[in-house]
Structures are given as C-alpha cells and as structure tokens.
C-alpha cells in the first residue's frame, strides 16, 4: 500500500528517513540519559541513607 511517489520518491523518502532518524536519536538519547542519571541518583541516595 506504499503510495506512488513518482520521480520525487528519493527526495520524499530521504526526507522522512533522515527526519525520523534525527527524531529517534533525540528521543533515544534523552531516554538513555534519563535512565542512566536516574540509576546513578538512586545509587547515590542509597549510599546517603546508609551512611547518613
């Protein structure tokens, strides 16, 4: 059910492709950083509670 893009298929597909890659990178990196910081913070809070 791919629409027929005609002679501009290259331009349209690469626009969508590159944009989605950029968005995926942005979202992915944001999530990764969020997860890693959260993990480090949890560990640090645990240490703090243990040692007071």
């Amino acid at each position: 059910m791919m629409p027929d893009l005609g002679k501009y298929a290259g331009a349209v597909l690469s626009s969508y492709g590159l944009s989605l890659i950029a968005l995926a990178l942005l979202v992915g990196l944001s999530l990764l950083k969020s997860a890693s910081v959260r993990k480090q913070l949890d560990a640090a809070e645990k240490r703090r509670e243990k040692h007071g």
């Binding site: 005609g6 331009a11 950029a22 999530l31």
Partner: protein, 243 residues
C-alpha cells in the same frame, strides 16, 4: 489558587511531571503517528509539486518548533534572570538540543525539497539563511553550557547569551531580508487559507504540528527531569567528597 511559581520548586515539578508525563507521551505518539501516516499515505499529490508536498508534514512543524523552542528558551532565561527559579534555567538547557534537532530537520527537509523545486539543495534565501544562523545560535548556546563547570554560573551566562542572541537573531533576520529577496514561499498558514494550502493538505498538517508541539513539550519535561536529577546527583557526590 496557588501561585503558578510553585511549579518552579524542583520537588513539586518532579511530582507533577511524574503524573502527566505518561499521558503526554501517549498523546504525542498518537498525534505524530496519525499526522505522519495520514500525510504520507492518504493525501494526494499536488498538481505542481507532485509527491514532494508530503515533505511539508515534517518541514513546517519542525520549522515552527525550531523558532518556538528558542522563544521558550528566551522566556525561561528571563524567568531565571529575574526570579532565579532553577527549574526554568534547567528547562532552557533541556530545550536547546531539541530546538537544534528541529532546526536541523527543517534544514534537511528543506534542502531535499529544494533540489526538485528550485533545482538546488541550497540557496541563500532569507528564510533558509535565518535558519542557518539560528542553528549557529543553538550550537553556541549548547557549547557555552557545556564549557562552564559551575551550574549557576552557566545558567547566568547562557541566559545573558540567549537574551542578547535573540536581539541579534531578529536583527539578522532583517539584514538577511535586505540582502536577498529569495525564493521561499511566504507564510501559507494565514487566515485566508483559500489561496494557500488546500484542506486535504491542511488538516493532516495541523495534526502534525500538534504532534510536534506535544513532542517538544514531552521531551522538555523529560530532559528537565533528567537535568534536575543530575543536579541533585552532583550535589550528593560533592557531599561524599567532602565527608
């Protein structure tokens, strides 16, 4: 009714965003998927531009968000400067990479669109040029955040840069217009849409714009939360060092 500034308290901010973030994320995915799928699969080709109109569903929302992200950073910087709420400084920091990505998407899709339409990937058209300058501003802003160790000093200096930069961005816009008349279409989301974009293109475009706005808000909240946690983490580590 409590003051809106209560959300500038980090803890309060964390609590309230924990509650809304899942809904926002779902809404974002829904809007983006609907808009892009609708636009890509279920809209006709334009009689002049052929299938390249489909690029509009990425290009225009990204372009709008690129500018609005900077505007949001400006507002957040002003709030930090006047009221010194840490959350707003961190929100400005969190928004910059998003804005930069949006600028990049607008530039890439525009360039890819330009090749079939104008016969060149790049022309020094005022609007295009303005975006390039905007990209440089994002780059400098992010580099300044990265270069300064102390978070409060970084917040102060980047907010000064954001304010001064905004003035110069406007000035550049005027200068660039003066310098070159350009190829780019004018604003077509004006009120009398009769003479501009037809409904078939207009409605999915609106959904896409909504999707990008939601994406921006979601990401800013997520990244601001990360920054807040990182700040807390830094303080805890510093305390461990001292003990």
């Amino acid at each position: 009714m409590a003051s809106i500034w209560q959300y500038a308290n980090p803890q309060k901010f964390m609590q309230s965003t924990t509650a809304v973030l899942p809904y926002l994320a779902v809404l974002t995915v829904a809007a983006l998927a609907t808009g892009l799928i609708w636009g890509f699969f279920f809209t006709p080709d334009d009689y002049k531009q052929g299938s390249t109109v489909k690029i509009i569903y990425l290009h225009v929302p990204a372009a709008l968000m690129a500018i609005n992200a900077w505007f949001m950073m400006l507002v957040a910087s002003l709030i930090w400067f006047v009221r010194r709420h840490h959350v707003s400084a961190l929100a400005a920091k969190a928004a910059a990479p998003i804005g930069m990505t949006m600028t990049l998407i607008a530039l890439i899709t525009g360039a890819l669109w330009g090749q079939p339409m104008w016969g060149t990937y790049w022309a020094w058209d005022p609007r295009l040029t303005t975006f390039l300058i905007l990209f440089l501003f994002y780059l400098g802003y992010i580099a300044l955040w990265a270069a300064i160790e102390s978070p409060d000093i970084a917040a102060d200096l980047t907010s000064v840069l954001c304010m001064v930069g905004s003035v110069f961005a406007l000035l550049s816009r005027y200068a660039v217009n003066f310098w070159n008349q350009g190829l780019h279409q004018g604003a077509s989301l004006s009120l009398d849409k009769e003479e501009n974009v037809a409904d078939v293109f207009y409605l999915p475009l609106l959904v896409c714009i909504a999707g990008f706005v939601l994406l921006f808000i979601t990401l800013v909240l997520l990244r601001t939360r990360t920054e807040i946690r990182a700040r807390r983490l830094q303080a805890l580590i510093a305390r461990e060092r001292m003990a």
